[in-house]
Amino acid sequence: MPMGNTQPSVRPASAGRAGGAAVTPVAHRSGARPRRARGGPGAERYAPYILVAPAVLIIVLLRLYPLILGVNFSFTGDGAQNGTAVGFGNYRELFADPLFRTALSNVGLLVLLLPVAVAIPGLLATFIYLRVPGHRFYRSVYFFPAVLSPVIVGAIFNLLLAFDGPLNAVLGSVGVGPVDWLGDPDIAMFMVVGVHIWATFGMALVVFLAGFATLDAALLDAARVDGASLRQVVWHVVVPSLARTIQFVFVTTMIGMLTSMFGLLFVMTSGGPEGSTYLPEYYIWIQQGQMNRPALASAASTILFVIMLVVGLMQIKLLERAGKED
C-alpha cells in the first residue's frame, strides 16, 4: 500500500502552505482530504501523484498488465482455436485432468507436511541454543545445504537414492530389502519433500537462532531453578517466547515449498513415477513447453496464482492477529 503511506506525510505540508486551517493527519484519514485538496494550486495538488507515478507505472506495466494478460489468455484456446474465446473451457479441461488434480492434491500434502518442515529447524535451533556438545560445528553444518542449488542437491540425492545406490546397500547389509525410493509412487513425493526440507531448513534455522538471541535468558534460568525438565523448558518457556518467529518461519517455509520445488522435481523425478510428484508449477511447464498448450498453461497459472493469493492473505491475517496480541 504505497499510496496510504505517502499521503499523510505529503498532505499536511501542502495544506499548511496553502494557508488553510490547520488540518491534522487524523482529519485527512477521516475523509476531509478531497475538500482540502481542491483548494491547493495545481502543481501541488498533483505532486503526490507524480511522485508515486513511477512506482505505480512499474507495478502496472510489469506486474498487473502481464497478470491480466495471462488471465485473459486462459480464456482463449490453443492450436487451431488460437485467439478465439473459449470461456471456461480450459478450466473445465484442467479439472477433468487427473494429472492436474494430482498436482493440486500434492499442494495439499505440502501444507500438511508444513509443521514437520518448521519443527525440524526449530528443534535443532533449540539444541544449538542450549549448547549441546559441538553446537558451533552443527551451526555451520546445518546451514551448508542452503547454499547449494536445488539441481545439485537433486543430483546428489538421485545417486544416494538410486535403486542400486548406497542407501539401499546400507539397508541390504542389515537385511532389509531394497526400496525404490524414487520409483514408488507412494514414496517418491515424500522423498522429494524430505530432500527439499533437508536442503532449505538451514535458512529457517538461522531465523530461529536470531529469535533465540532475543530470548530472555533469565526466564530459562528461573525455569531451571524451579526444576523444569528440558521438555518442560522447551514447551513452556521457549515456544511461547518465540511465537512470532515461529509464525514467520511458517510463512516463509510455505512460500518456499509452493514456489521453489521445481528444480528438485525436474532433476529427481520428472513428475513421475506415474505422475505422482506433479506440482502445479511443473504441470504449467510441461503444458507450455512440451505440449505446446500456452492457453491451458495460463489457466493453470491463474489457478496457482489464486491458491497463492488465498494462502498469502490467510498468512497476513494470521500475522496481523499475532501482532495485535503483542
Binding site: 489468455f73 470461456g87 535403486f163 520409483g183 523425478t269 513421475g272 513447453g289
Partner: protein, 420 residues
C-alpha cells in the same frame, strides 16, 4: 472488502466473456534482410563445426551476400523457448526440430517446403516424420531409429550363440533365462521419464502387429482394442513381471543411466537409438565393435516380418514469419546437403538422412543398421501426439508397478488418441 470482491468478479467475468487476444501470436521476423537466424541445440557442440562449415559453404554458393547466424539453445529448454518465440511471433527464420509430435504440434508456425525440396526427395530418407496432412515442413538431417542392441560377450558367457540371436519371442525369453543364470539382466531399461515404453512399442511393433495393422497405425487408423495392440502392452508388463528388466526401471533415467547399465555389461540387451546418443558409437567406448550386435525384433505374432523402425530424426524447418521463405528454405536445404551430412555422420556419429553415405568404416553394428533402412518402416510411437505419448509414459510406469491392467491402459490411450 465487498466492493473489492465485486470488482474482481466483474474482471473475471469480463475476461471470460471477452477472451480476446491469443496465447500464441503470429507476426514478423526479428532478423534484417541480409541475415538469417537459425535456432538449434547442436551448433554449440564441437562435433557440429565441420558440418556447419560445409552447410554454410553450400549456402554461400546460392546467396553470397546473406549472413547466417546460428544460435545454440539448451535442449532441455528448447521447445519452451521456441514456444515463447512462436507466441510472440518473433524468432528465428530457420529452426531445428525433432521429427514426429514436436514438429507436427507446431506446423501452424511453419512454411510448407514441398515446392522447395522436390529435388532432395530421392536422395534423403525420413520425410514422413516431418510431414503433416501431406505437406512437408522440414528437411531431414539425421535418421532416428530404435534398433535392439545386444552384448555378444554376455551371450558367450550364457552359452548362447552370439552370431544368431533369438528370432522368436519364446526363444528370446528362454535365452533371457540363460542370461539371468549367467548373472545379467535381459534388458537395460530406463523408464523414469516414461520413454522406455516408446522404444518398446516401436522396437517390437513390426513383429507384434500384422503388416496391415502396422500400416493402419501409421496412417492414423489405430485400433486400440485389437488383440495384437494389447499384446504389445502385455509383453511390456510381462518383461517387468518376469524380472527381465534392470532393477528400479521406473526410477532409472534412460539418458544415460540405462545405457550405462548396458555398456557396463549389467544387461544383455538395450533398445537404443541410432543417432545422437545411446547408439553404436556411444557404446563403443566400453563395448568394442566386435562385442556389439544389432538384432532384429523376435517374432511375437506368427507370420510377421521384423523391420527396423525409423523416422527422420532431426530436420530444419522454416518459420512462417520469415521475410523470404525461398531463401530460408535454401538454407534448410544446404543444412541437409550431401557434403554437410557426410561431415555430420563422421563427427557426430549419427545415421544421416542421406543413405548414399558410405558407413563401412563404422563397424558391423552400423553397417547392419544402414542395411536394414531399405526395408524399414516409420516407428509406431512417432505417429502418436505428444499428449498421448506423455500419458503412455505414465501408464507404462503403472503397468510395471502393477497398479493398472492392460485393458484399462488401451482404453485410456484410445480416448486420448481420439481426442488428439
Amino acid at each position: 472488502m465487498r466492493q473489492r470482491a465485486m470488482w474482481s468478479a466483474v474482471l473475471v467475468v469480463g475476461l471470460a466473456l471477452a477472451g480476446c487476444g491469443s496465447a500464441s501470436d503470429s507476426g514478423k521476423s526479428t532478423s534484417s534482410d541480409g541475415k538469417l537466424v537459425v535456432w538449434d541445440w547442436k551448433s554449440g557442440e564441437p562435433f557440429a563445426k565441420s558440418y556447419l562449415d560445409k552447410a554454410k559453404a553450400d549456402f554461400k554458393k546460392k546467396h553470397a551476400d546473406v549472413e547466417v547466424e546460428f544460435v545454440a539453445q539448451p535442449f532441455d529448454q528448447y521447445y519452451t523457448l521456441l514456444g515463447a518465440a512462436i507466441q510472440s511471433g518473433k524468432g528465428p527464420d530457420v529452426m531445428l526440430f525433432n521429427g514426429g509430435g514436436q514438429i507436427r504440434d507446431r506446423v501452424d508456425a511453419l512454411v510448407p517446403l514441398d515446392e522447395y525440396v522436390a529435388e532432395d526427395k530421392q536422395r534423403l530418407a525420413g520425410w514422413e516424420a516431418f510431414t503433416k496432412d501431406g505437406k512437408i515442413y522440414a528437411a531431414p538431417v539425421t535418421l532416428q531409429g530404435y534398433p535392439i542392441y545386444y552384448n555378444k560377450a554376455i551371450y558367450q558367457k550364457a552359452n548362447l550363440d552370439p552370431a544368431s540371436p533369438a528370432t522368436t519371442w519364446d526363444k528370446f525369453v528362454a535365452d533371457c533365462a540363460a542370461i539371468a543364470k549367467a548373472g545379467s539382466k535381459c534388458f537395460a531399461l530406463g523408464n523414469k521419464e516414461g520413454v522406455g515404453i516408446q522404444f518398446w512399442i516401436s522396437s517390437m511393433g513390426s513383429t507384434t502387429l500384422t503388416a496391415a495393422e502396422y500400416d493402419a497405425w501409421i496412417a492414423g487408423k489405430r485400433d486400440w482394442n485389437s488383440a495384437n495392440v494389447k499384446r504389445l502392452f502385455q509383453l511390456w508388463k510381462e518383461t517387468g513381471d518376469k524380472k527381465m528388466n534392470s532393477d528400479g526401471a521406473n526410477s532409472t533415467a534412460m539418458f544415460n543411466d540405462s545405457f550405462a547399465l548396458f555398456q557396463s555389461g549389467k544387461a544383455a540387451h538395450v533398445m537404443g537409438l541410432m543417432s545422437d546418443v545411446g547408439h553404436w558409437q556411444d557404446f563403443n567406448e566400453f563395448l568394442t565393435p566386435e562385442k556389439l550386435g544389432v538384432m532384429k525384433a523376435p517374432v511375437v505374432t506368427a507370420g510377421t516380418t521384423p523391420s527396423l523402425p525409423y523416422d527422420g530424426g532431426i530436420g530444419y524447418a522454416v518459420a512462417k514469419w520469415t521475410k523470404d521463405p525461398k531463401m530460408a528454405a535454401d538454407l534448410a536445404r544446404s543444412l541437409s546437403s550431401a557434403e554437410a551430412l557426410k561431415a555430420f555422420y563422421a563427427d557426430a556419429g549419427a545415421i544421416a538422412a542421406d543413405t548414399t553415405i558410405d558407413v563401412s568404416a563404422g563397424g558391423p553394428a552400423v553397417s547392419t543398421i544402414v542395411g536394414e533402412l531399405k526395408s524399414g518402416k516409420p516407428a509406431l510411437h512417432v505417429a502418436l501426439s505428444s499428449k498421448t505419448i506423455d500419458l503412455m509414459g505414465r501408464l507404462s510406469q503403472q503397468l510395471l508397478s502393477g497398479s493398472i491392467t492392460v485393458d484399462e491402459v488401451v482404453k485410456q490411450l484410445a480416448a486420448s488418441d481420439q481426442a488428439g
